[in-house]
């Protein structure tokens, strides 16, 4: 097949930007904090822990969203290709970008000429890569896992399936697509619940509206399938997946004004090219609203699908904005990724021929200016961003020198240190009083002894580990070093253990204790908890055993024996 020349150039442009990104990643010229921050390293640490260190996935407390589909599947391909974690992260970025490019091309080719679809898709994806090299948010998120970009890929897959279901086809083909929608619906919401607000609820609301207005029943069927997918995800998630970490958030009635101000201030502080790109995305969104207003009465199948997509996009943005306003969590641009990234895509779907040409010219210019700026070095990250690699290397050298393999650090330091640390090195996240942080962790790693600690001097509050708490547990003064402004303490031939588990976990154990009706069982469990260093829980088990004996009329000398055992255990810990 002869390839149309502009298509060829556009595709080459996309490949060039992808290569440029890979090259800059290896040179360390991209924002390392984007790739090496603890949240972005969730999948690398999970894969390392289970597939390399041999731990069981059932011992994990996963991230609040599981990020299985497509994030973990893409990461598995990257993991399969390379042993080096930095390379796995780069492969992940490349695979995710290629998948996004392919899905965008397929989505566009359902509505426009295939050659135009290739050009538009290549321009859109090149723009995202270039803008991602300028700034982490919102475009840089397209390179990393666990930041809700996977939900955009699911969004596109569902748009394709939605369009296929609405096209006239035989009942067998329809059942096939219904099955696919159910499966993708199940997998997507199991991975990331944000898609519930971005796609499921909007499509259900539109389906109900279309059904009541007798416009179409098919959309409601798809909404019902997605809802059923969500139900299956709840049931199977509870049955087969371990706990997920909780984010402390609640309903907060912060005003729409506050959120709009946050959005405005966020945009103002971005680099100029990102501002221009976001301004174009905003214009595309306005174009979508105007298009829908003008065409919503058109009922032929071609216009119907475009109208549905516009309405879905508008309702989805309203739902997401309302949900963000109702949450008391701080504003983050990643919740609005589909609207920043997919607005231009929808513009290319609905635009008239003349406007389409203008859109392609605008995006080609943006890509060219972006490329030239990068080649002139305008997007170099600041020096502090390069610290992540230097910091990890420095700590690795020190722990190797002292043969220290188990350490503690605050969450943002602990995860990179574990992922890029020496083989068989474990770093557990703790809070200021040295108690385990209990957020995205393997609970089997918390028990035992620790031989080094990292104190982040730039942090405060719960992320600043208390030096006093460490010194209290040591007999000799530790070796003290500095790595990238952080204090590294390596203990002198001694170890410390973590003091207690979180209130929630201890509460669970105490509740469990109240169900046990054998004082010796409680005694055994108390002794094991003491050995693990969970003194408070152990003391509660002892108390539970003693009160059980009293309730059941045990003899006083037996009760005294239990009290003596408790005191002996407590004294052994104190001394």
């Amino acid at each position: 097949m002869r390839i149309f020349k502009p298509t060829y150039i556009a595709f080459l442009c996309y490949l060039l930007t992808l290569l440029l990104f890979s090259w800059r990643y290896y040179l360390g010229d991209v924002d390392n904090e984007l790739f090496y921050n603890a949240d972005a390293l969730y999948l690398p640490s999970l894969f390392k822990n289970i597939l390399i260190d041999g731990f069981n996935y059932a011992d994990w407390t996963f991230a609040p969203s599981f990020y299985i589909f497509p994030d973990a599947i893409i990461y598995f391909s990257a993991f399969f290709l390379s042993d080096d974690i930095s390379s796995q992260i780069l492969f992940y970025a490349i695979f995710q970008s290629i998948l996004f490019f392919l899905l965008t091309t397929v989505t566009l080719s359902l509505f426009v000429d295939r050659k135009i679809a290739w050009i538009c898709s290549a321009m859109l994806c090149s723009n995202i890569i270039i803008m991602g090299m300028f700034s982490s948010e919102p475009y840089g998120i397209s390179f990393i896992s666990s930041f809700h970009f996977g939900s955009i890929l699911s969004f596109e897959i569902l748009i394709i399936l939605l369009s296929k279901c609405l096209s006239p086809s035989s009942s067998v083909v329809k059942i096939y697509f219904y099955g696919l929608i159910l499966f993708i619906g199940f997998a997507s919401v199991l991975s990331d619940r944000i898609i519930l607000f971005q796609f499921y609820l909007p499509i259900l609301a539109i389906g109900i509206y279309y059904s009541i207005s007798k416009i179409n029943n098919e959309v409601l069927k798809i909404g019902i399938l997605l809802l059923l997918g969500y139900l299956i995800a709840i049931i199977l998630g509870r049955l087969f997946l371990p706990h997920s970490a909780d984010l402390s958030s609640g309903v907060g009635f912060s005003s729409i004004n506050t959120r709009l101000t946050a959005l405005f201030l966020y945009t103002i502080n971005l680099p100029l090219l990102i501002k221009i790109s976001l301004l174009i995305a905003g214009s595309c969104f306005i174009y979508i609203v105007v298009y829908y207003q003008k065409h919503f009465l058109y009922s032929d199948i071609h216009h119907f699908k475009k109208n549905l997509l516009c309405l879905l996009f508008i309702v989805s943005a309203i739902f997401m904005f309302t949900a963000t306003c109702l949450s008391d969590r701080s504003f983050s641009s990643r919740y609005f990724l589909p609207y920043f990234i997919l607005s231009p895509l929808l513009f290319f779907i609905i635009a008239s021929r003349k406007h389409l040409r203008v859109g392609i010219i605008v995006y080609s210019s943006l890509v060219s200016i972006g490329l030239l700026s990068i080649l002139h070095g305008h997007s170099r990250p600041n020096e502090s961003a390069l610290d992540v690699r230097n910091f990890v290397t420095c700590v690795n050298q020190l722990t190797q020198k002292h043969s220290a393999s188990r350490g503690i650090a605050q969450y943002w330091n602990a995860v990179p240190l574990y992922v890029f640390g020496n083989p068989r090195t474990t770093v557990v996240s703790v809070i200021n009083d040295l108690s385990p942080m209990m957020f995205i962790y393997n609970h089997k790693e918390i028990s035992g002894k620790f031989s080094f600690a990292v104190i982040d001097n730039d942090e405060d509050g719960m992320y600043k580990i208390s030096r006093k708490e460490i010194d209290k547990r040591l007999k000799n003064s530790p070796f003290e070093y500095q790595c990238s402004g952080k204090t590294i303490l390596i203990f002198d031939s001694e170890n410390i253990s973590l003091p207690k588990v979180s209130t929630l976990a201890s509460l669970r154990k105490v509740v469990l204790g109240s169900f046990i009706k054998n004082p010796r069982s409680l005694l055994i469990m108390a002794q094991i908890e003491f050995e693990k260093g969970n003194d408070e829980i152990a003391a509660q088990f002892f108390d539970e055993a003693i009160s059980l004996l009293r309730e059941n009329g045990a003899k006083e000398d037996v009760i005294i024996q239990y009290q003596v055992k408790k005191n002996e255990a407590l004294n052994s810990v104190t001394h």
């Binding site: 069981n56 996935y57 019902i224 199977l236 046990i516 054998n518 010796r520 069982s521 004996l549």
Partner: protein, 118 residues
């Protein structure tokens, strides 16, 4: 609306089929099996589960069976729990003597199998 109702019923049937298929092909059964095995091999968890047996004689019989199978660690745990029940219900020292003697004898024996403490 009837069409939607019919569709919902059909979809429910489909969900049941999909759930069953997923149930059958989900690859974590071996993981779960290992998890259960690990759970049962820990001494604290064994103590927890055996606390549901509220008859010291039943624990004594189970302990004797463990001794026959040379599973001394398990036998010792069951005897300890049996003594715990006797203590809890205010049994006399002479009544507990037989259990205590057996436990002392068991503690002197080498342990062929042992539950993990952690």
């Amino acid at each position: 609306m009837l069409a939607i109702f019919t569709f919902s019923i059909k979809a429910l049937v489909l969900v049941a089929l999909v759930s069953t298929s997923l149930w059958l092909i989900f690859p974590s059964f071996s993981g779960m099996q290992r998890y259960v095995k690990d759970f049962l091999s820990e001494r604290a968890n064994q103590a927890l589960l055996l606390s549901f047996v509220q008859n010291p004689v039943a624990l004594l019989i189970a302990s004797d069976r463990d001794i026959e199978k040379k599973r001394f660690a398990e036998a010792e745990l069951k005897l300890e729990l049996a003594i715990g029940l006797l203590e809890m219900h205010g049994a006399t020292k002479s009544r507990m003597q037989a259990y205590n003697d057996k436990l002392t004898a068991l503690k002197d024996l080498p342990k062929s199998t042992g539950a993990k403490d952690k």
